[in-house]
Point group: C2
């Protein structure tokens, strides 16, 4: 793995991340392909939307169809017909959000499969082994996702365990040519977050992820943590904010020096009838679109906006047609990828502040308080 920064604009960075399956321009947004497919999309459509890299879920694939089947099929890339880079989460987040009968001990986590109730024991070593079987370009360390809210004491105990697990992940990853990222924990406590960074950088990772956010904290708390910790992460390493978020969350995080993002929002919102357009959010179920012959976003050049009216798309959504999910997902991903590309161009041109201001004017949203914008 290689990461180089091509341009900077205040804290924001435009970089190039070279991985085993290709180079990725940052800031980058990774659509989520939970089960080895970004919902409703083909790999060719992902490419056409500007997608360079995707995220897939270790937890889900481990349970179904099982990592050994994917390994026998030649790895996740070949299995799902996606030849670009793949990042896999470690399963940590899902163990803490989806599994029942969860029991944490120092060695790992016992839980029951949400699919068939069978008993599973996931350890840092197993999480790394699964990701090796999938052959992901970026392997994530197995961590405990500290819940929100958590007392300082609970957050510290949880963070410390994640750091011990990070060390074990590093050992388990030895010899692999894929990249390994550590995950910073510590809840909303800035000093714990800094402590976590110090431990992870001592161990040494290819990149650093900010975990345990987007779990219920306010946008202000999230920005506070980003303000406090981003510049403590080694400047030369890629920084990845996990599971975030809405377009404005991404714009603010890019402003604070984050390079990588993933989120289900563009794809899930599409299926639920929520469309991101230049001027904000369009809810296709609204009756006012029933006879509207305009495209979803007149400023958009995607396939959906080139060929279909709001009236037709609303009709498809109301009829529960699969084509709705497809056309809406295609558009939302195009919106997100276009946002990332514009952000990158603005950083390179040295006008990220103007880009950010224009984003808020167009979407009629209120930017966060100035002290958080640094």
């Amino acid at each position: 793995m290689n990461f180089s920064i091509a341009a900077r604009d205040q804290h924001a960075r435009a970089g190039v991340l070279v991985l085993r399956h290709g180079a990725v321009k940052t800031p980058v947004f990774m659509p989520v392909g939970t089960y080895g497919a970004v919902k409703a999309m083909t790999p060719e459509e992902l490419r056409a939307s500007g997608t360079q890299m995707i995220l897939s879920n270790t937890f889900h694939l481990m349970l179904r169809p099982g990592e050994s089947l994917i390994q026998r099929s030649g790895g996740l890339h070949r299995f799902m017909h996606w030849d670009g880079p793949v990042l896999t989460d470690s399963g940590g987040f899902q163990v803490f959000s989806l599994a029942s009968m969860r029991k944490i001990e120092e060695e790992g986590v016992h839980f029951n499969s949400p699919l068939d109730g069978s008993k599973i024991f996931l350890t840092p070593e197993r999480a790394i082994a699964v990701q090796h079987a999938l052959n992901s370009d970026v392997v994530m360390a197995f961590d405990e996702c500290t819940p929100y809210p958590a007392t300082r004491n609970d957050a510290e105990i949880s963070m410390q365990r994640s750091m011990r697990w990070a060390q074990r992940c590093k050992s388990a990853h030895m010899g692999s040519t894929n990249a390994l990222f550590g995950i910073i924990q510590g809840g909303i406590y800035a000093d714990l977050r800094r402590q976590s960074i110090d431990i992870l950088t001592d161990i040494g990772f290819d990149g650093y992820a900010i975990g345990g956010l987007a779990v219920g904290e306010t946008a202000q708390e999230r920005l506070y943590i980003l303000d406090e910790l981003t510049h403590h992460i080694p400047d030369s390493s890629p920084r990845y904010l996990m599971g975030v978020g809405f377009p404005q969350d991404i714009v603010e995080a890019v402003a604070r020096g984050v390079d990588m993002f993933d989120c289900v929002i563009p794809t899930r919102h599409a299926r639920n009838g929520h469309i991101f357009i230049s001027s904000g959010l369009l809810r296709i179920r609204n009756a006012k679109y029933a006879c509207d012959e305009k495209p979803l976003d007149p400023a958009c050049a995607c396939y959906t906006c080139s060929h279909y009216s709001r009236a037709y798309l609303r009709h498809l959504e109301r009829c529960g047609e699969i084509l709705w999910s497809r056309l809406a997902t295609l558009h939302n991903l195009h919106y997100y990828q276009n946002l990332m590309q514009s952000a990158r161009e603005a950083i390179i041109a040295g006008c990220f502040d103007d880009f950010r201001t224009e984003f808020y004017i167009k979407t009629k949203k209120i930017p966060p308080l100035r002290e958080h914008a640094q």
Copy 2:
């Protein structure tokens, strides 16, 4: 409309049907786009599968989004972004299969909308007006779909009413440049079917459809009716067998001189995990495909078979992924269109019998009794 027969092989015909939105080579299979979208498919994908013409449903579109909305959008073609020919059924079949509180009188049919229970009165004139608003290339006469089984007396009364309605449809269609097809009824009674043909040809239509089949009768009864009536239909007109069917049903009907087909089977079966391949039917849920790295059909050149293994596709189906419905539909339509194209080529080459024999050998199916093959 113009229909010319380019080649014949015994009763089978290879023709060209010229409609307002383009020319169609027959025998032709029309995928069904009930709500103005062939489920899970874009128009570009339909084209790529070899689809030349689609069927859409008057009954469904009349109720949702309503024909006036589609008319204001520039007609069904523009609304759904499909520039090829469209045939619309008249709503007759759906009134008799989907509507509740149905009451038939000479003037038309009263029923309650299955969407919101509102009272609707559908007459031959209204069915034609709706189809004109949709601007379909081939307008179908409004008929009563005689149920199966029916006594000879019931079938005769029902057929006679359909014939009076056909006359009213013809009058209502005067002045339109779109084609109008009459629908032959008469249940499984050959003499009633012939009587129906005589009445329809006296009125004069651009094409003749065989209605009231695929409603529960046996394959033998269906073939008997086809054997008895096909050659009574004017030789120079296109013949359309409504709602049929499985690949072997289509092969047998082509052998008997039928030119046009529509059916939900390829698309619906795809979504339900049933895949048509050269050697027969593949049920993807079968555990034996769990680790199978072969494509669905090694003999197929479609996008799905070019890029995905049975193991991956089975995984998608088990996970309920939309991508499964897409990839499976794409393949099944490709199979059907390939079958139609091969049938046409065989007719032109004068070897339809060989084609038919090979079809039965490959699929290991038993051909119908010789007296029905004529």
